[in-house]
Structure formats: structure tokens, C-alpha cells
Subunit: 181 residues, 2 copies
């Protein structure tokens, strides 16, 4: 949330939209988590809000990051990470795929392959758009555009790898050895 607010002042509702649309591929939060957290951050003086009155829409609270919040965010960015546990249901399924009906398994893995290939395409379109529109900014480490680009690159590499793996599994299942193991 601070990472988003460091780029622009946003309401809780805006933050929830960003979580769904832009940064959703690597982090998410629902509005039910966002509103209490904004209150907590304000208590810690990381953010401040002002009420913006609107004619045709409900009023909103627009949150801005403070110097305290910005400093905390800067520190956090380069702070060491403790290795986080990954959980991947498809790998879990792969681990037990020897028990499954191979045809059904192929269907599942092909479906997943397709989904990740589609997502990859979407990311690559955004990548092309960024390179077109943002040009030289993408080589400026102090630009938020560079940072967005870097995050997107992870998405691309992830989807490529995931689709490749699903395809590999499906191929192996299709070639298949003896059905009895």
C-alpha cells in the first residue's frame, strides 16, 4: 500500500482497484483488509488523509504518504527478506499425478498451459506498450516506470516458465509409458 501511495495519492477504493488490476499478479488485498490497514498506517503517521467531496459520486478519503512513511518504505525496499514459503497447487497435483486418469490429467495441464500462455501474451503486450511509450525511462533506476517494468518482467518470466512446465508435463503424459507402472 505504501508502494502504491508513494506514486500517487489514492483512496481506499482506488487502492483496492490497483490491487485487482495492476499489482494483483504479485500482491493482492481486498477492501476489507485495506480500510482497517489505512487506519492503522495513519495511526503510525505513515499516511494522512483528506476528505474530497464529490458532486456526482460519494465523498472519498484520499490518502497521501508522509515523510515518515516514505522513509519506512525506502528502508523496507532494501531490507533483507526472509525466505517465504511458496505454495503451488498444480505442483502438488503433479506430485500425485501418477494416480490419476492420464487423459483427464492431460486436459488439466493443457488448460493451465493455455491460461498461462494467454497471461504471458497480455504481459508482453503491456511490455511492448511500455517500451513504446516510456522509452528511455525504462533504463532509469530512479524512475517508477523502471520499477513497474522490472515487476512486469518477473510476470513475463514466471508465465513463460509456468506454461513451459505445464506443456512439458502434458507432453510426457501423452507420450505415456505402460499404463500399469
Amino acid at each position: 500500500m505504501l508502494g502504491l501511495l508513494a506514486r500517487e495519492a489514492l483512496s481506499g477504493y482506488d487502492l483496492a482497484s490497483r490491487m485487482r488490476e495492476r499489482v494483483g499478479f504479485f500482491w493482492q488485498a481486498r477492501h476489507s483488509q485495506i480500510y482497517p490497514e489505512l487506519a492503522r498506517l495513519e495511526g503510525d503517521e505513515m499516511v494522512v488523509h483528506r476528505v474530497v467531496e464529490q458532486r456526482d459520486r460519494p465523498d472519498k478519503k484520499v490518502y497521501e504518504i508522509t515523510d515518515v512513511g516514505l522513509e519506512a518504505l525506502k528502508e523496507w525496499v532494501t531490507a533483507p527478506v526472509k525466505p517465504r514459503a511458496t505454495r503451488d497447487e498444480m505442483v502438488l497435483k503433479a506430485y500425485s499425478v501418477w494416480l490419476a486418469d492420464p487423459e483427464k490429467a492431460v486436459t488439466l495441464f493443457r488448460e493451465q498451459q493455455r491460461l498461462h500462455e494467454e497471461q504471458l501474451l497480455r504481459y508482453e503486450e503491456i511490455e511492448a506498450w511500455m517500451e513504446e511509450e516510456w522509452g528511455e525511462d525504462l533504463s532509469l533506476p530512479s524512475s517508477p516506470r523502471f520499477a513497474s517494468y522490472a515487476a512486469l518482467r518477473r510476470g513475463i518470466i514466471h508465465e513463460r516458465g509456468y506454461a513451459e512446465w505445464c506443456g512439458w508435463v502434458a507432453d510426457r503424459l501423452e507420450k505415456g509409458g505402460a499404463g500399469t507402472g
Copy 2:
């Protein structure tokens, strides 16, 4: 847990070890989660246990999967997955890296690159061992060895992609454009 018990009968303690060592890279659970879950699975008739008395060690409860459990597992393997939310702290940091001290950021990303390259090497060693030891079983979709191999392949592709991305970010940060953005 059913996926592990389908391969061999295990105690809660054994399950916890497997979660740490073998399947830990794509799924984990602590003993505090495992013991109550085993009781729940037994209530659902997915597993049964017998007490194994040991001379030099504490007695243990060894759990076996039942036909009911095996059927449920088989069904689950090919059942559709609902897209799970990924959360990646490094990508989150990358998204705000434009605010950070570039030198410190390079250190962080190089460190992560190294860690993932090391993990990749470990996986590749296991891969080589599997190919050596398990040979033709690796092309039998009905063999648990094939399934282990498939899961490992995901680990390899993941680590390769992750290390590549960390390196890419660090390279870009080092080349760096103007410091002012």
C-alpha cells in the same frame, strides 16, 4: 498429506519431515497443523492409524491411506483449480526500487540471485540422480517416480527463471541511468 500417504504409510512426525525436506519447495505444513489434520482425516475415513511400539524411541502412530482417501485424492488431482493468488515480496520490492539506494538494491538482488542459483544447482543434482537411478520409470506416468520428477522440473524452471530475473534487475540497476530520474 494424502499425496504423501498414498506413497507410503507415515507418522505425523514423518509427514512433518517430508514437508520440510522433500515437498517443502511447493508445499509446507508444521506439525501443529499436521496432527489435528490427521485426526480430521481419520474422522472422514480418509486415513487409519495403528500404534507402532518402539524400544529405543517413543511409540508412534503410523497412518495409512484408505480406499476412500485414495479415491478422494484421485478425484482431486484432475479437478479444476481455482486461480490462486501469488504473493512475492521481491517483486513488491522491485515495484518500489526506484525509491531505494541503488547500491543497496543491487546487493539485495545479487544476494537473491545467488540463493536461487544455489537452489537451482541442488535441484539439478537431484535431477541428475533421478535420471541415473530411476531411468525409464521417469517416462511412466503411472509411476510415483515420474510424478516426483515432474514436480522437481517445476522447481528447476522456477529457480532458473527467478535467478535470471534477479540478475536482470541487478544488471539494470548497475548500468543505471541518471540518479535523479
